[in-house]
């Protein structure tokens, strides 16, 4: 093998840029709850103020750092691609994962829009096969693209005979 080893190439498409903002908001909301609670308690309970406000500050810094850095990184790591034959998705960094589901084996195509995703005009598309371990998820696609994709996938899968097992 003079040419080198086979490798999986990254899927073609990145997510929508808005996904970064979406993830950021998620991180901020996630951190805001405990920070707010701790802060409120700290304001009310004078004797334990240090022990309440300290962690609150720590959490706030942590949350802000995560919100600033991680989404950008996730954006770089998440990629997807749909060809005529298959759906191909890559996720993760510390435990990178590639999933490939052939069109002929796709059973359902779900489009989900959470409340937060709605705000950012994003959708998630989940493609399931007959395998309990074979679901392929694409999060953070723009609305139009997601529905287009779902429609395209549904059309292709309906054209395939058999029960896809």
């Amino acid at each position: 093998m003079s040419q080198g080893e086979w490798r999986l190439r990254p899927p073609r498409n990145t997510l929508d840029r808005r996904a970064i903002a979406w993830w950021r908001t998620q991180w901020l909301l996630w951190a805001a709850g405990p920070v707010f609670t701790l802060g409120l308690l700290g304001a009310l309970i004078a004797p334990a103020r240090f022990w309440l406000l300290g962690p609150a500050a720590l959490l706030a810094v942590l949350g802000l750092t995560c919100a600033a850095l991680i989404p950008r990184w996730w954006y770089a790591v998440h990629r997807w691609e749909v060809t005529d034959e298959a759906v191909y998705v890559r996720t993760g960094f510390f435990r990178q994962e590639w999933r490939i589901a052939p069109m002929s084996r796709i059973q359902t195509v779900d489009t989900v829009r959470g409340p937060l995703e709605q705000m950012f005009k994003l959708s998630s598309v989940t493609v399931t096969t007959a395998s309990a371990k074979g679901a392929v998820r694409m999060k953070g696609l723009p609305h139009e693209q997601a529905s287009q994709l779902a429609e395209q996938l549904t059309r292709i899968t309906q054209a395939t005979p058999g029960d896809a097992t």
Binding site: G4, T83, E97, R99, R105, T129, S131, K133, G134
Partner: protein
């Protein structure tokens, strides 16, 4: 279907009179049948058993409390009558309200009093008809029938008929699973494997034995506590250890536990596997029949068979035996236990026989689990296994050492002993785990092997692979390894090749299912950034 059934339990219309099964259903109400009436008897007996179990201690308690015996009996009999009556009455209502029908298109079940449940399965989707009969049902000549589809999701796709007569159960099984007989007789119908008493020697070697032994100890402690004799038991144990040495006493106790576990495992094995028989029936159905007291019959359509799994738990492997499980879609799996039961094709038996049975089941001259040349995995995989093993072995030793330094020297000795025992075992297991890794192709099958405590060799039909999942942790990336999972509709949903060499693994996946991975593969001389 011209129109949906009207929403009442009396909807008996729309059964075509000219259905192919017209003759078979001479029953009233156009094919609707009810369960066997003797279910009432079964319920009454079962409830009576429960009442007896609860009633005797209660009676002892009440009599002990100073109540005259006659009064105690009167109370108890009244209570028992009430409970048994209520149970049987409830079952009567269930029996009255439950009806089923097998039409040319669908199998239907209507049941429920307040909440009407109607379930109907398209006959072409029915993949399994399993019969079970416990002792009581067997005496009465009844069976419980479960009709299932190949759906992986939800338990909503099963019809349960509890109970019908054995003849009716057999008829349903034959009729629902009978399909156009293709290639009949190619590899012959009839028995593929039959019960052999000698297999019982593998029963005590299973992992069940120590578990049963430990639970026997738990049981003794529990019972002694009920009778307030626990302190006496501990006194006796103290005397016992004083009479012998600590080491000798422990060994004797361990031997006793082992013996109890072995006896338990033997008993369970006999109940599970007595009268075992694996056969192929006309129409391409595999059927496993077994059980001493509770008889079970599991049918697996060959259409939904995607391969086999040869499993060798450590103890069983050391004496050269193996178990065979089916990798099939839609086996009944309401809970994990039933799934394990349903997929077993052969209990632990000599390895050569296991391979033969696997070959016969797959209609192959040689089982892929034996015939395939497996590619060993890179040495980096061995390093990973050794590191894990050392981690697992050293963690308790480290904890004990720290505690020993802080508290008492005794723990240091325990830690040292632990290290002496655990480290070699861990290293041996790790080396074995590495040696067991392998993957290869054999005809229509993809074969992968892994595991040490239970070595599993899976032969999966390449046509049954419905996708790939490739995983690579940071450590694997540095070592040039990856874990490939072939996803499938059958069995556990995915079968993995652990820690294969990166390039070779991907090439293997591509050659196993040509064309699926190819568009996403590139050759590279240099290692590129993990995301680019």
């Amino acid at each position: 279907m011209s129109e949906p059934a009207p929403p009442s339990a009396e909807s008996t219309a729309e059964v075509p009179e000219s259905g192919p099964d017209k003759g078979a259903y001479g029953a009233p109400e156009e094919g609707w049948r009810s369960l066997d009436r003797r279910t009432l008897l079964v319920t009454a007996v079962v409830t009576a058993g429960v009442v007896l179990g609860a009633g005797v201690p209660t009676a002892v308690g009440m009599a002990g409390g100073g109540m005259p015996l006659g009064e105690v009996l009167a109370w108890l009999l009244a209570g028992a009558g009430l409970v048994i009556g209520a149970g049987t009455g409830g079952d009567y209502v269930r029996w009255r309200r439950t009806r089923y029908r097998v039409g040319p298109e669908r199998a239907e079940l209507h049941t429920g009093l307040f909440l009407l449940k109607r379930r109907s399965l398209a006959r072409e989707r029915i993949r399994s008809v399993d019969l079970t009969a416990n002792v009581l049902l067997r005496i009465l000549g009844l069976v419980k029938v479960r009709i299932g589809t190949g759906e992986q999701t939800g338990g909503e796709s099963t019809l349960e008929l509890d109970p019908v007569t054995r003849a009716e159960g057999e008829r349903l099984r034959r009729e629902l699973l009978a399909r156009a007989t293709e290639e009949a007789g190619a590899y012959g119908e009839g028995a593929l494997a039959a019960f052999d008493r000698k297999w019982i020697r593998y029963a005590p070697l299973s992992f069940l034995a120590p578990v049963l032994g430990a639970s026997a100890v738990g049981g003794v402690l529990q019972v002694s506590e009920w009778f307030g004799a626990q302190s006496r038991l501990f006194d006796w144990l103290g005397d016992f250890f004083r009479a012998t040495t600590v080491l000798g006493g422990s060994l004797i106790l361990l031997a006793g536990m082992g013996l109890a576990g072995a006896v338990g495992a033997l008993g369970l094995w006999v109940e599970m596997w007595w009268n075992y028989r694996l056969e192929r029936e006309a129409g391409g159905t595999l059927r496993v029949r077994r059980g001493l007291l509770t008889s079970r019959s599991v049918s697996i359509e060959e259409r939904r068979l995607r391969g086999v799994e040869v499993v060798e738990p450590l103890g069983v492997r050391m004496v050269g035996a193996a178990r065979v499980d089916a990798v099939a879609t839609g086996l009944a799996h309401e809970d994990e236990d039933e799934r394990t039961e349903a997929k077993a094709l052969l209990p632990a038996a000599p390895r050569t026989l296991a391979d033969t049975v696997a070959a016969r089941v797959l209609r192959e001259p040689v089982s892929p689990t034996r015939g395939a040349t497996l590619i060993p995995h890179p040495r980096a995989a061995r390093g990973r296994r050794l590191r894990w093993a050392l981690g697992y072995a050293l963690a308790p030793v480290a904890v004990l050492t720290v505690l020993g330094l802080l508290l008492t020297d005794v723990l240091l000795y325990v830690a040292a002993a632990g290290a002496v025992v655990l480290l070699p075992v861990a290293v041996l297991l790790a080396l074995d785990a590495y040696r067991n890794l392998g993957h290869g192709l054999s005809g229509r099958y993809l074969v992968t092997r892994s595991g040490t405590l239970a070595r599993t060799t899976v032969a999966l039909q390449r046509g049954g692979v419905i996708g790939w999942r490739v995983r690579q942790s940071v450590f694997q990336r540095r070592a040039g390894l990856l874990t490939l999972t072939a996803t499938t509709a059958a069995g556990s949903g995915g079968y993995s090749v652990h820690d294969a060499a990166e390039g070779e693994g991907l090439a293997f996946a591509e050659s196993a299912v040509p064309g699926l991975l190819a568009p996403f593969l590139v050759r590279s001389g240099t290692r590129s950034r993990p995301y680019g």
